[in-house]
Subunit: 302 residues, 2 copies
């Protein structure tokens, strides 16, 4: 492991989740939570986020136990961001029952001086205006990755396009890639995304794995044959965190390294969905991850 | 190339096809046509099928030019099997406008003595009763693969289950695998199929590639990033033909060889869809195939 630090900005929240496997309430959630914990298996992570006074101390302890620097996790008066969602038979389709922004509504990420020179940055799925804010405070990071969602594509497309001009790798799921570009075929959508600025686009396809596109790159990462998807929440964030964390750990951002990073991201995401919230994700060993990475290698071998 | 011969039984017909790229009428079609031509790039093929008096001689010439033994291609009084189909935006969804069985209605495949000892057999998608007929005439082939479709799963399930008891590898698309087994997850569907008898199940997922399952095998073959699917007809048959042809060419039916065979099948299928009917499929060189196989390797590398 190198000392390359990863800066992650995004939401930290509390979730109420219903899936065919049960229901949990006010459990740890948020894109920055999942991606930071995922990245923490590979590299030192600093998290930039905000929570309310009601945020359980045990969640902060969980971050600390993973070695995550929470000095820029603000605690504000008010309640923590809350999301209530449900998944039916299709783990790719979340039904939102409630979104309460609470303290997140006025979130204005501020990077302390110690955080400005982190060479790896992951802009988790938040308002692209905030993603730009963070980029403007950072000292020319070596590698920036970003995530987004349909909501921002619809409501803040211009700002999102500004973000895409400034990132090395953007992450999207297949539906978002089609929505952003208006292209039906993923190969065409990827071309259109690359023309917007990023050197690489990683497209998540749920049960069908992930694709990585670059100027001369087409990489198809295999999916893992899961038999139980207990809770799909955070799979995409875990994927992103594992990906960026792996890159930071090697310091190598060559195409060959990014391919491996996509598989490490897939590996961590495959664990995430095995239990509710971060229960599985936060209790992995580096050996668990390596063993499953080796299985991915075996699954793709010919 | 070894001298292992491949016996292929199935439909040879004439198609009227409409896709977003145009319309063609009374062009060569049928599962045995596609799979035989695909297999012919790897191994000597003998075709068992029936056509009517109206079957254009140029189609027989096309088979012969590919070195296919057509001595068991019966020509009967009457008209050739005819299918009229259309594809819209989704290349996985064929809309059938007409199916005229014609001489195919009374097809009773008969293996001449010279064809009974072919070590490799592909039972293309026909009535499972006929597939069993062929198996009963064959002299304990080394490797048998079979295809089927939703129509037989619905109408002749018992006979289909008899076939599955006697094949080494069965091919299905994801929807058929789910339909046959009642399992939603493909991993569960594959388990259920393997319990029916086959040593391997190859599940075709269209744009998402193909999966191979065996007792201790899970292989995910990458898909090829096609930008134009001019005519999806015969993709599954080409996949099967390439797969079985490759196995025959090596004489090696180990798991490692079957993985490569799945990729060769995917390779040939990726060419098939680039033009209507067998226009592209029948005009390949072994170098075309190898170059694209190498691209598949590059797409999956990490």
């Amino acid at each position: 492991m190198t000392d390359n630090k990863v800066l992650i900005v995004g939401s930290v929240g509390l979730d109420a989740l219903t899936t065919p496997f049960g229901h949990v309430d006010r459990v740890l959630g948020g894109a920055a939570s999942y991606s930071s914990v995922a990245a923490s298996y590979f590299a030192p992570v600093s998290m930039v986020a905000v929570v309310g006074q009601d945020f359980p101390a045990e969640n902060v302890e969980l971050f600390k136990a993973r070695g995550i620097d929470v000095s820029a996790l603000e605690v504000k008066d008010g309640e923590t961001f809350f999301w209530a969602g449900e998944y039916g038979e299709d783990p790719n389709q979340a039904i939102t029952h409630a979104t309460e922004l609470n303290v997140f509504a006025d979130f204005k990420p501020t990077l302390p001086p110690s955080h400005r020179s982190h060479p790896f940055v992951f802009l988790a799925n938040i308002d692209p205006v905030l993603q730009l804010d963070v980029l403007n405070q950072a000292d020319s990071p070596e590698f920036v990755a970003s995530d987004t969602m349909n909501f921002w594509i619809a409501s803040k497309k211009d700002e999102l396009l500004e973000v895409l001009k400034r990132v090395d790798l953007c992450l999207m799921n297949d539906a978002e890639a089609r929505m952003l570009t208006g292209q039906k075929l993923l190969v065409d959508a990827a071309d259109a995304i690359l023309a917007m600025g990023p050197k690489y686009a990683a497209i998540k396809k749920g049960e069908h794995g992930a694709l990585l596109f670059g100027e001369n790159t087409h990489f198809s990462a295999p999916s893992f044959p899961l038999r139980q998807i207990v809770d799909p929440t955070g799979a995409g964030d875990s994927f992103a965190g594992g990906l960026v964390g792996y890159l930071a750990s090697t310091g190598d951002t060559s195409e060959s390294s990014i391919r491996k990073a996509v598989v490490y991201g897939s590996t961590v995401a495959s664990f995430d969905v095995e239990d509710f919230s971060l229960r599985r994700l936060a209790s992995l060993s580096r050996e668990d991850i390596q063993n499953r990475y080796d299985l991915f290698t075996e699954i793709a071998r010919f």
